[in-house]
Symmetry: C2
């Protein structure tokens, strides 16, 4: 099976011209922003984008390694760049337009790791200092600033982000709403290896032993997810039991939050949707993952509630 090669835009002007007929026809545009080094996870985002706009719509993928979201000393320089392979994946997935701008096109004022000479940026608010933000305090300002820029350049109707970077998804959704971008932000499910490891462009940094051990992240989340029906304490203990068996893994955080990443209530008195999130280092490689779960009411509280109801009946 052969696929038409997607059109490649290197500048805003080229992108605008490639999408001119879509704008004129009122065709919907779905957008998948990436940093390249595409894998099956990105391919699934593209399929979700196509499902959002149908065959009459346009699917745009951007490939841009954003210096502003890396801190100095992080892996900006060694982050994998694989444009030819990326274009093949985009062709196979029926992408209409690949937007692969130079840094000058996105930051005409200049940009380096974690820093821009441009003056106006997007302030992501307090959530950006939590979870990932504890070890990467400038990361989400960089992410939201570049996503705002890319939304401005691409002007999509809908944008698809992976749930693997869950905090990013929540913050991008807040930004899209708070700045009235008119972009609907869709979260797509995480694609996993057979042993549960979430696909990530950074997985290729792992040596074979680290790769084997990396399955521990999703195993820990899965254990928490399964134990969650017995209440938060049981879920936490189940996750900790997994973590005690892990070797060569340096845990950064394991946290249970509401789906919007606000704190859970102090006491769970009814079935509560939640998210469990993990970050850990294997050698110099930092991996993150997360899963949804439903927290049940702990047995002693359920029992107390039931006996209170019985007393009320008598």
């Amino acid at each position: 099976m052969t696929h038409p090669t997607p059109a490649l835009a290197r500048s805003r002007a080229e992108l605008t011209s490639l999408l001119a007929d879509a704008r004129r026809d009122g065709a919907r545009v779905a957008y998948v922003p990436t940093m390249g080094a595409l894998h099956e996870g990105h391919a699934s985002l593209v399929r979700e984008a196509r499902a959002q706009v149908g065959d009459a719509g346009r699917v745009v993928v951007s490939i841009f390694v954003n210096p502003l979201q890396f801190a100095p000393g992080e892996d900006l320089d060694r982050y994998p760049r694989t444009l030819d392979a990326d274009l093949e994946i985009c062709a196979a997935e029926g992408v209409d337009v690949v937007f692969a701008p130079d840094a000058d096109e996105v930051y005409p004022g200049g940009v380096r790791a974690g820093e821009t000479d441009e003056t106006v940026t997007v302030d992501p608010g307090p959530l950006a200092a939590e979870l990932e933000g504890v070890s990467r305090p400038t990361h989400f300002r960089g992410v939201l600033t570049v996503v705002a820029k890319l939304f401005g350049l691409v002007r999509p109707d809908v944008a698809v982000f992976g749930q693997k970077d869950y905090q990013q998804l929540v913050l991008v959704r807040q930004m899209a709403e708070n700045l009235c971008t008119g972009v609907e932000v869709v979260g797509a499910e995480t694609v996993r290896e057979p042993d549960g490891l979430a696909l990530s462009s950074r997985n290729r940094y792992l040596d074979p032993e680290q790769r084997r051990r990396a399955a521990m992240l999703s195993q820990t989340l899965r254990a928490a997810q399964e134990a969650a029906r017995y209440g938060l304490d049981v879920a936490v203990e189940a996750a900790r039991a997994e973590l005690r068996q892990a070797h060569g893994v340096d845990l950064d955080y394991l946290e249970f939050r509401r789906p919007d990443l606000s704190p859970l209530p102090a006491e769970i008195t009814e079935e509560t949707e939640a998210r469990v999130l993990i970050a850990a280092r294997l050698g110099t490689t930092r991996l993150i993952d997360n899963l949804p779960l439903v927290l049940g009411v702990p047995r002693h509280l359920a029992r107390a509630a039931a006996s209170a109801a019985t007393e009320g009946d008598s």
Copy 2:
């Protein structure tokens, strides 16, 4: 002469529907954001907007008193609201669409003076702490956040701002560029009363005596502008001489800057475009104004340069 009444949109959905044919036809949209209480200064912005897009284009005026750009204790509550008169002015100027949203439409997450419950805002960068920012430290975050929102709602090709609020114009232009909004920001010349007072919705706060004294702002700027050819020191002295004659006027600042509001070079060695900006209080009313000027080379430097050139010739 009668004018067709502009269409009035109260929500994003109404606005989108009123502009649907313009989008389909590829008609250009010019946008004038205002806080209402319209006067001849706004009318001139509307005429500039029409000139930008021609008869085939659409001119949109928004009327929205943005709570976020007021600090608690500033004049949010007493800021004049004159919707019926505003609509008449818009009709007379041939505005196509007036967008007058409620606060809920622009800030679904909630907003009060100087504060929003929404989490993502626009960070205006260091210039926002200077000039107006000294006495109004949160003002420009509020301005740029609402302008980003309004640009997202209106999606104009070009937006017209008055030069009277010069620092706002510079910051909005930076925002439009840095966030890749694709909106061209045009600055329109300040409209003045016969005695030179710049038109402002806040002028109606002035009592007759304050109104008379208020002419001093533009007289001070004009003196600086005329003296500028003799160098910066002379321009400063000319402005100070005007200020010494002023009564009942509490000067906040008088500053000379480059046109982009960065500092002037320490020594002016060639003709240099600049801006002189003033802010002052008359009673409880705070007024601002500014003018462009061209700084000449001071005589002693010009003389030194000339004699150096002569020596070089010999």
